[in-house]
Symmetry: C2
Subunit: 317 residues, 2 copies
């Protein structure tokens, strides 16, 4: 294949950032566009915070705190310490470097700029080569129904430590959202679409739910490969396994991930990359009409990220 | 006199904070209300910043950076470092602790709360006993005419290091401003009014310029004592001496301070506290209809602040 392989990665925060990093490590071999989930954005302290975009951005900039999986490494916490003295909510911990991102984003959003343009400039400032695209410039907000009623996503996820059973999800505003021209162009020219090992229900579903977006993915000749976020019956991180049960009535397995994508978006996912420890589920995955790719999907270490990315790039050929 | 002496202090930033600290050091002997200048407030990064109020607040909280005369001691600068990476303006340096003050203030202002109430809560959080009152809840903005045209105050003061000759001042919005009920009540019940050793043109003039405020000061039986910001022909800090010449055509002396107050607000100032080094100007001050009080007005050290404050309190008796 002449020229770089054009990858479009659908990404939440944690798994999305690691997968994006893997492709970035391949350098000139790929041209990476990340479509990031913005349905877990929140407004706090008058600031517009985009946790998933930022996790991807900081990771690609080499600034991420890999231990926590969010925020910036070598962060300071002076502002949050003062916010606490002022009796302001501090359950969503904002580091001082991180604050500057939200301040810059918010100032420009208030001036009427598109999140897409702002994100592009932030990434340029941090010398990121990949294109990071919000799934939409419209406001979409995930709402989570629990035994205590409907909660804002970050209220459920961070403040209540995703301890509640999730009974229902709603992406408020999604009916009026549209993919940006940049998202559509990236999909149109992609050689390979990758769905990151992100939570299918709260990270990937909002992206696929933006009206028109999944249709464009179905229409592209590029193969669509999803990376399972489940290894050995457990989610790599977060509440994906619990949601698999409470929302889809499925066991927390990679085969269930295949069943879920086949059911929610028939014909969309061509290949599911699963970890070797789940190799015994290959037939079950095939039965969902999805081809299994058995590999190593645990990508905590940068070497593993690059290796998995390289394996996926080969699927474009 | 039974009970605490009720002091109302008209204060800018640097000199105002030091004088306020002096009264605070007297503990239960005084009940201090500081009326702070808000005409040098600015909006930056979508945040409402009140530099003079904050300098007084941090000083009274024992948190001030006494070396710089602004901001918080042991500050970190992570946010401003990132803002610089993002190409945002950083000439007005905002520390990380300090940012939390602006974030809290701005969030509450946007929610429709009064600056007076917000400032009271911030001070309560920092365990400040004194009452810190913005001169008004309305928006007043000092504009500075220079050879390069009209500038915003902080543009002139911080960004251009008050290097321009000031040809004219304007307090935009002041005609529509009103003193808050709290300011009027504090003046009404004061035993002594003190004008801090702040810049008469850009710190004190806006306070006295709020419609109705100087009339209330004239109407109160409490003596009004100003502390000269000039010692030995020089301003303790900032451009007061240069403005004395360019705006009032006066030499930079304590006698000129007396002449300026007598001219701009006839009958308002009863006493001018001057430094011993300016004792030879006592007759000239008296000629302005103002009684000189010769003392030590250099109050860099806390002991000196408390001593000067105690001397002024005696004037209420």
């Amino acid at each position: 294949m002449a020229g770089p392989v054009r990858i479009v990665l659908l990404a939440g925060g944690f798994g999305g950032a690691r997968m994006a990093h893997g492709f970035a490590l391949l350098g000139d071999r790929v041209e990476l566009s990340v479509i990031g989930n913005t349905a877990d954005d929140l407004d706090l302290h008058g600031l517009h915070i985009s946790p998933d975009l930022d996790t991807v951005m900081y990771t690609l900039a080499g600034m991420a705190n890999e231990e926590t999986g969010w925020g910036v490494r070598d962060e300071t916490w002076s502002a949050v310490e003062m916010l606490a003295r002022y009796g302001q909510p501090t359950w969503f911990r904002l580091g001082d470097h991180d604050l500057a991102t939200h301040i810059t984003r918010t100032t420009r959003l208030r001036a009427g700029e598109r999140l897409t343009d702002i994100t592009a400039d932030l990434c340029r400032s941090l010398e990121i080569g990949a294109q990071l695209l919000p799934m939409t410039d419209a406001s979409v907000r995930t709402k989570v129904r629990t035994a205590d009623g409907w909660l804002d996503f970050q209220d459920y996820f961070v403040r209540r430590s995703h301890a509640d059973e999730v009974l229902e999800l709603r992406f408020a505003g999604i009916a009026d959202a549209r993919p940006s021209a940049e998202v559509l162009a990236a999909i149109h020219t992609a050689d390979l679409i990758v769905i990151a090992p992100s939570n299918p229900f709260v990270s990937v579903a909002p992206i696929l739910g933006v009206p028109g977006l999944s249709q464009r993915l179905l229409a592209t000749p590029a193969p669509v490969v999803a990376v399972s976020p489940i290894v050995g019956g457990r989610a790599l991180r977060g509440p994906a396994a619990a949601m698999m049960s409470s929302l889809a009535g499925l066991a927390p397995t990679s085969a269930s991930i295949a069943a879920h994508y086949a059911r929610s978006h028939p014909g969309l996912v061509d290949i599911l990359a699963i970890d070797g420890s789940d190799a015994d589920q290959a037939d079950e995955i095939r039965a969902s009409g999805i081809a299994p790719l058995v590999t190593r999907t645990v990508i905590a270490a940068p070497d593993d990220r690059g290796r998995l990315a390289a394996e996926l790039v080969d699927l474009a050929g």
